[in-house]
């Protein structure tokens, strides 16, 4: 019989808290132990209770749990003698010892019993522990291996990072470059294309730039902020910056100088994060564009025939759109190092011209670029495809086809701009100089590059509703101004400033007389005669004089007005004969009633009359001459 008993020397774990802290059942002290055990011993029930209790007590504790379980809970009597259970246990122990003794003594004789060892597997008892140990060791070793490998890799990559930092930056920069510019790899070199060939340009410049790695950097020192691992090398003739300068200058006194504008000059704003290579490439492309535009212009300047031939000198094209006006287009290319001496006095006019001209130039050059198109579609305008089915005649076809070159278009635009500004200046100067009548100009907002229009009204202040017969629509073209009068006349004026001025002056003088006509209607006076172009009186150098005669409602008075652009205004009033100072006596006319007819004239000094303007004076005059009923 084998009894497994173990010594409880370590404290028992009562509980393990969540943070791993173990709480032990407190070990009992000797006296506590004794008291506990004493409660278990029942000395009353056993007959052979020994005296050497303490020895047995000390031996008992570890044997206690089993005997208690064996006997069950039948003898549970808490009010018994405290040593009762102890006694029982001792007795049972003694019984078992006696039995064992008996067995051993019988075995000793070897007559009736023999001992045979039970075969036991030594591995069973020993190997579980060893196996566990080995397996744990192995698994730990594998885990350690993995971790070590990982750590090795990390350190290696970190080391590589430091070395290849330059290399990786170069690739990411290259990627950025490729997203904006065309690149291709030729052998070991990386070349790029900054020309406009992909847009259809036929300019023979190759426009190739090379991408090189920037390796002159020491990693140990601090990396500068604007360091870029990538550098571009642009062709030497595209270095620096270029722009096209267009200037319109006067050569004679009367034509105004429109000044100078620079196109394509604006530096593109460096966006935050854009690298130096980007700026460099953009500048080079700008230079290429300016060169192409200038080459196209100079080629056309030489080829096309015009009345005044264009002069092409080195990098300047000079042409004369109007006699006395000089238009010069020059290409200014400055390499980056030296500063340009002429501190370009850019007259910063409030320039719609600058953006408009630059935009126009962009559009024109795009039209020159023939866009790549499929082989099946013909050259030319898209709408020409409809020419066949829609039976376009020659006029329509020619209107679709481009026949003008770039230079011609630019010259036309320059002419138009010049003409428009001069017309505006003429009208404004007239308006500020002459107060009566007033001249108003309403410029149309919607213009084209070759045509603008303005509506000119000539009115008298205070009488706008009555006297609105002079309304002119001016269509300013490239070389001429077409005037459409309200009464339907169409007059074409040349680009001379004087013509327009004379015309407006003559219209103003006509307006005065028209105003009197309208006023007469309002006041109830009768118009006796009216002529826009009288053939009598002093000859005017500008236009013709106009005249009107109106009679009062009663017929007693009449007013005659003659107004000429140069001779000014003359007003005469006709009185009835009986109001004349000297009444010529006549034998033929005897009746008194004939004295009521109108007779002599008297001139009115308009300058000394009261009144803000001529029409007002006329109104006063008419009012004065019509007596109140």
């Amino acid at each position: 019989m084998a009894k497994s008993c173990f010594l409880q020397l370590i404290a028992q774990v009562q509980e393990v808290s969540l943070d791993g802290l173990e709480t032990y059942v407190p070990l009992l002290s000797m006296s506590q132990n004794l008291a506990k055990l004493a409660q278990r011993i029942d000395f009353n029930q056993s007959s052979d209770s020994d005296e050497d209790g303490p020895e047995r007590e000390s031996r008992e504790p570890w044997g206690k749990p089993e005997p208690e379980e064996d006997e069950g809970t039948v003898k549970f009597q808490p009010s018994l003698w405290p040593w009762d259970s102890v006694r029982n246990n001792l007795r049972s122990a003694l019984t078992e010892m006696c039995v064992l003794h008996d067995v051993l003594s019988v075995l000793k004789d070897k007559k009736y019993m023999a001992l045979d060892p039970v075969s036991q597997d030594p591995a069973l008892t020993k190997t579980p522990q060893v196996f566990q140990l080995i397996s744990k060791k192995k698994s730990l070793a594998t885990a350690a291996q993995l971790l070590l490998k990982g750590a090795e890799k990390l350190t290696k990559s970190l080391a590589e990072n430091q070395e290849q930092r330059r290399q990786r930056d170069f690739n990411s920069e290259l990627l950025r470059l490729r997203s904006q510019w065309k690149l291709r790899k030729v052998g070991h070199k990386i070349l790029g294309d900054l020309s406009y060939r992909s847009a259809g340009s036929l300019f023979p410049h190759h426009g190739t730039f090379e991408v090189i790695k920037n390796t002159d950097i020491d990693l140990d020192k601090k990396v500068p902020d604007d360091y870029c691992p990538l550098n571009v090398q642009i062709p030497s003739d595209l270095e620096g910056s270029a722009y096209i300068k267009v200037s319109i200058q006067k050569q004679s006194a009367d034509i105004g100088d429109l000044g100078t504008v620079s196109l394509f000059r604006r530096q593109p704003k460096a966006k935050p994060g854009s690298q130096m290579w980007h700026l460099k490439l953009e500048a080079a492309q700008n230079v290429l564009l300016c060169k192409e535009i200038f080459a196209q212009l100079s080629r056309e300047a030489v080829q096309i025939k015009s009345q005044i031939p264009h002069i092409v000198v080195k990098n300047q094209i000079i042409s004369q759109p109007f006699p006395g006006l000089q238009l010069s287009i020059s290409l200014c290319h400055s390499t980056g190092e030296k500063k340009s001496q002429r501190a370009s006095p850019d007259k910063s006019k409030p320039d719609d011209h600058l953006y408009v001209l630059e935009h126009n130039l962009h559009q024109l050059i795009r039209e020159v670029h023939t866009m790549p198109h499929p082989a099946s579609s013909p050259f030319g305008h898209k709408r020409l495809r409809l020419a066949g089915p829609m039976a376009y005649d020659k006029a329509e076809i020619s209107s679709l086809q481009q026949s003008e070159g770039l230079l011609e278009k630019i010259i036309k635009q320059a002419k138009h701009i010049f003409l428009r500004s001069r017309t505006a200046r003429t009208i404004d100067s007239l308006a500020s100089r002459i107060e009566d009548p007033q001249i108003q100009a309403h410029w149309s907002n919607i213009n084209s590059v070759y045509e603008s229009s303005v509506k000119v009204l000539i009115t008298s202040q205070g009488y706008e509703q009555i006297c609105k017969s002079i309304q002119l629509q001016l269509n300013i073209g490239v070389e001429q101004i077409r005037v459409v009068h309200r009464d339907g006349r169409v007059i074409t004026l040349s680009h001379q400033e004087q013509e327009l001025q004379d015309f407006l002056l003559s219209q103003m003088s006509q307006h005065q007389v028209h105003a009197v006509q309208q006023l007469a209607k309002v006041m109830g006076w009768h118009v006796l005669s009216f002529s826009n172009h009288v053939g009598l009186g002093p000859i005017e150098s500008i236009g013709n004089a106009s005249a009107i005669t109106v009679a009062s409602p009663s017929g007693e008075h009449a007013i005659s007005v003659r107004n000429g652009p140069e001779s000014g205004c003359k007003v005469l009033v006709q009185f009835p004969r009986n109001q004349a100072k000297e009444l010529p006596k006549s034998d033929a006319v005897q009746d008194a009633r004939w004295t009521h007819l109108r007779g002599p004239y008297r001139e009115v000094h308009c300058g000394r009359m009261e009144g803000r303007n001529f029409v007002y004076k006329m109104e006063l005059l008419m009012a004065a001459l019509s007596p109140c009923p």
Partner: protein
């Protein structure tokens, strides 16, 4: 693009075609018209092949006009017409199996072009296989596209230099379903030319009777 009227001028008595044409030129120049280049109108005939019934096959006429240099017009006599790109001729070559070109029947009218304010007058010699057969006069009033509005004006103008040969209102305009007051088409001009060419072709048959 305006209202056109095409008419035929008979050759003057005792004079050749060229002389009559010169007379007309002179009259126009006296009127004040300005010469503005040349013009030509031509017409090719195609037979539709593969006709099951024994009926005479329909004739397709392909015409070109120098006024619309990029177009070709294809029409059946009295029937529908088609305005197409100049590549239509190439298409007809590809349709050789269905439409056969009657090469001997090509008619064309060539001549000078005069401009008188809003009027365009084209005087041409109608030729068939390079023999002059007649004279065609086309008058176009560019300012209007409605025949009903300007026919009287055109008639008056034509009387001033054509005299008795002035035509009546062309049947093309009166035959239209919508009447006289619909805008004209280049097809109307071509139909008129076709009519004239047809007349010219038939004319040749009469003098040389028996010749097909």
């Amino acid at each position: 693009m305006g209202v056109t009227c095409v008419c035929q001028v008979p050759v003057a008595e005792g004079k050749s075609v060229q002389q009559t044409v010169d007379m007309l030129h002179k009259k126009l120049e006296q009127l004040g018209a300005i010469k503005q280049g040349n013009f030509w109108v031509d017409c090719e005939t195609y037979h539709a092949t593969g006709n099951a019934t024994g009926q005479p096959s329909k004739l397709l006429y392909v015409m070109h006009n120098s006024e619309t240099p990029l177009s070709s017009m294809a029409l059946f006599e009295g029937g529908p017409g088609l305005t197409a790109d100049a590549n239509f001729d190439v298409l007809m070559v590809k349709l050789k199996s269905h439409f056969q070109n009657a090469k001997g029947h090509k008619v064309e009218s060539r001549g000078t072009r005069y401009r008188y304010c809003d009027f365009l007058v084209k005087i041409g010699t109608v030729a068939m296989s390079s023999s002059a057969r007649g004279i065609s006069v086309e008058v176009e009033y560019c300012a209007c596209v409605i025949p009903g509005d300007c026919w009287n004006l055109m008639k008056e103008f034509m009387q001033s230099f054509l005299g008795s040969s002035t035509p009546e209102l062309p049947a093309v305009f009166t035959n239209k379903a919508e009447g006289l007051y619909t805008p004209v088409d280049c097809m109307d001009t071509m139909s008129q030319y076709l009519e004239l060419f047809g007349k010219v072709r038939k004319q040749q048959v009469l003098p040389g009777s028996g010749v097909r």
